[in-house]
Amino acid sequence: MKLPIYMDNHATTRMDPRVFDTMKPYFLEIYGNAASRNHSYGWEAEEAVEKSRKQIADLIGATPKEIVFTSGATESNNLALKGIAQMYAERGNHIITQVTEHKAVLDTCKRLEKEGVRVTYLPVRQDGLIDLDQLRDAITDKTILISIMYANNEIGVVQPVREIGKIAKEKGILFHTDAVQAVGKIPVNVVADGIDVLSLSAHKFYGPKGVAALYVRRRNPRVQITAQMDGGGHERGMRSGTLNVPSIVGLGAASEIAKNEMPEESKRLRFLRDKLKDRLFRDLDEVYINGSMEHRLPHNLNISFAYVEGESLLMGINDIAVSSGSACTSATLEPSYVLKALGAGDDLAHSSIRFGIGRFNTEEEVDYVGDKVVDVVAKLRELSPLYEMAKEGVDLSKVSWTAH
């Protein structure tokens, strides 16, 4: 077993060697510009791009022409939200999203607000899911777009996307979903789910970084998006710029592998995730799962170890690569806004660890992680004045702390 163990697969994934092999010829041999129409270099590149478009479309139940290539999911989300807000400005100026979205959606919405768009940020319940009645109530005759993520990047909860799609359709509102954490991991079907626009990213499912796609529906309804960059009019005018052929080939290959292996793989990952969860619950008291366990990605586990601070825990398990919602581990020195939105209290956010199990993790690694986390949490609780007080029966919520 090689250390450190990588178990941060919501941040990014290792590229599948099969994907890498597929990409290789497109760097040194088939290096043409896919937009070059008059020689074989261009034709071969274009052929490769179209194959990838088909592979991605097959993974999400779309048609190839509905796939627009971008540089990353941040770009896809920006393009979707800004492009729709601009294109449909005459119809209305209201967007509905929710508080645990990725910053690429939230900060884009904030930008749009400065430009006069009205945005409703729905709260989430304690299980991390939005309330559909609140969604219905938020809709006005000015609402042009609902943007709700498919699955959350921190707590892995899966939103009721199909129901949201139905509501959007009933009201004639467009539905965008940031599906970065879901595509390639759980079945996503833009037709069955009623999705009009969808963001996905290659590096989240064993493809290369720096390439992503935006699905834009062409029928029922035909969605139009204002381009955010001016240039050669590539990608049906929605996204100019020479196509990144090797990476696009990689995204296609990753999509095909994901489609073929998903049933098997998600079963294996769920088994490993549950094994880790059961281990931690068996040997430790006062551990809490953040977010719904029922509506959750099979490979995600987000746990708070009460009375233990996240960064100190990461320090103790420094041969395991995972993330924490603790303030000390974030650039802003604020605890995770996603965990805060669940209303569980900042102290549990500080104590949280996110495990993202991936294709290349083994059962041996999961067992090692379980042992190590149990050991370090026990050690840090010996050090924790809060654990001592809790064991003495002190109600920590009633203590007057000296906040600083």
Partner: protein, 137 residues
Amino acid sequence: MAYSDKVLDHYNHPRNVGSLDKSSPDVGTGMVGAPECGDVMKLQVKVNPETGVIEDAKFKTFGCGSAIASSSLATEWLKGKTVEQALEIKNTDIVNELSLPPVKIHCSVLAEDAIKAAIGDYKKKQTTRSSEAVAVN
């Protein structure tokens, strides 16, 4: 974030972990910080009332590695010092000793606050005791 060797050493081998009897008149207890801020330090000193020398010091800390190291170091420094000498320990001394980066300076501030709170608690107990002694007379 990369930790200094000294922070790692204190984190891996924390000194003087534990608790003293907080009801003892010779023990001063300082508890600073808040769970929602991500760090709470409990620091205790046991003082010889005759000499004013700190004979024992213990800590427990909920917080990041730098917070643990700051309080562990503080207990090391406190032992053998008089109460007055202990009050001279500055957070910057801790920053320098542990090579704490700017984002971790608040950990050293918290440790200084914990020292002051523990000694303050001890002094308060001593004054109450002497006034009680007067009352008995």
